[in-house]
């Protein structure tokens, strides 16, 4: 399954809703939105949810393993094969080209994410401010996530308490 996350939704619907009837289409949409609301990889989260719904903990374990196992095998195979050709001239040329696509891919994703999520001037400010801050201050991404999230919760509480 390519692309992960949102790319998985139609495949999930075909397999889980239409074929196996493990969940209804509405439940799947619910699960999808909850999965975006929990940390972690969205595709894995959905699998864990559905596994747990059907068979409890053991179902959750099996479903989660089911999603990650093919990826583990494929990546280990690709990585071991590639590592043997990494000093081949043509592989080096290919990867020099690929790296340009990767940078373009990152910029492309940032543009898409910004368009979909940063619609408010306050969020634009947070985005630009965080980026400039990151360029000058060394901070772990995890710590940054905690600070920004907690800040937003505190701000929301203040708003609800005093500006309503």
């Amino acid at each position: 399954m390519f692309g992960g996350g949102a790319a998985m939704l139609p495949i999930l619907k075909a397999e889980i809703v239409d074929k196996r009837r493990y969940a209804t289409a509405d439940e799947l949409v619910d699960l999808y939105s909850i999965s975006q609301c929990t940390p972690g990889i969205i595709a894995v989260n959905i699998a864990t949810f559905i596994g747990h719904k059907l068979r409890g903990i053991s179902g959750a374990v099996v479903a989660t393993l089911g999603v990650i196992t093919p990826a583990i095998f494929i990546i280990i195979a690709v990585a071991s094969i590639l590592s043997q050709f990494m000093d081949n001239r043509y592989v080096i040329y290919a990867f020099s080209g690929i790296r340009l696509a990767v940078v373009a891919l990152i910029i492309n994703v940032v543009i898409d994410l910004a368009r979909n999520n940063i619609k408010h001037w306050g969020k634009t400010l947070v985005f630009v401010g965080t980026f400039i801050f990151l360029l000058f201050v060394k901070i772990s991404p995890a710590l940054l996530v905690i600070i920004m999230g907690t800040g937003a919760v505190a701000l929301g509480e203040l708003q609800r308490r005093y500006f309503k």
Binding site: G3, G4, G5, M8, S33, I34, Q36, C37, P39, G40, I41, I42, A43, N45, T48, F49, H52, I57, A60, I68, A71, I72, I74, I75, I76, V78, A79, S80, Y93, A94, F95, S96, G97, I98, R99, L100, A101, V102, V103, A104, L105, I106, I107, N108, V110, K123, V126, V128, T130, F131, L134, L135, K138, S140, L144, M148, G149, A152, V153, L155
Partner: protein, 172 residues
Amino acid sequence: MTHLLLFIEFFKIGLFAIGGGLVTIPFLFNLTEKYDWFSRLELTNMIAIAESTPGPIGVNMATYAGFNTEGIIGALIATFALVLPSFIIIVIISRLMDKYSCNIRVKDFLSGVRPAVIALILWAGVPLAQISLTSELNILIFAAILAAMRLWKKSPIFYIILSAITGIVLKL
């Protein structure tokens, strides 16, 4: 010792990389600064391979990064550590309530995190651009690929193959 560190670091990524696969990039970039597990150059290659193989990108990245660090054991540790936090959280959520909906504070937390996470991805892109866009020709190709991506929404693997061929033909 590396095994334990690998577990802790990827558990952290699983817990804090909110928003899916590509959000793991800045976290992995942070690892290149903290440890000598893999280089920035290797990270860039990993992103390309994770994007062009089946499976969730975040899982692919973790498996690859773990494999690069400590072989097959490393791949297993990194992947399991990555999915463990959300696994625990989801099992708890499923048990606590039948119909879990996003709590208002959880919503606030996530909406505060989102612009920061996008800034993080862009921030991780800067050094990757520095090591990749090393000549005028490279910058030109990069700009062409990005323009193509904006114009035609093809899957990433299309652009990765195209750029690989460009790299071989032009001997980049």
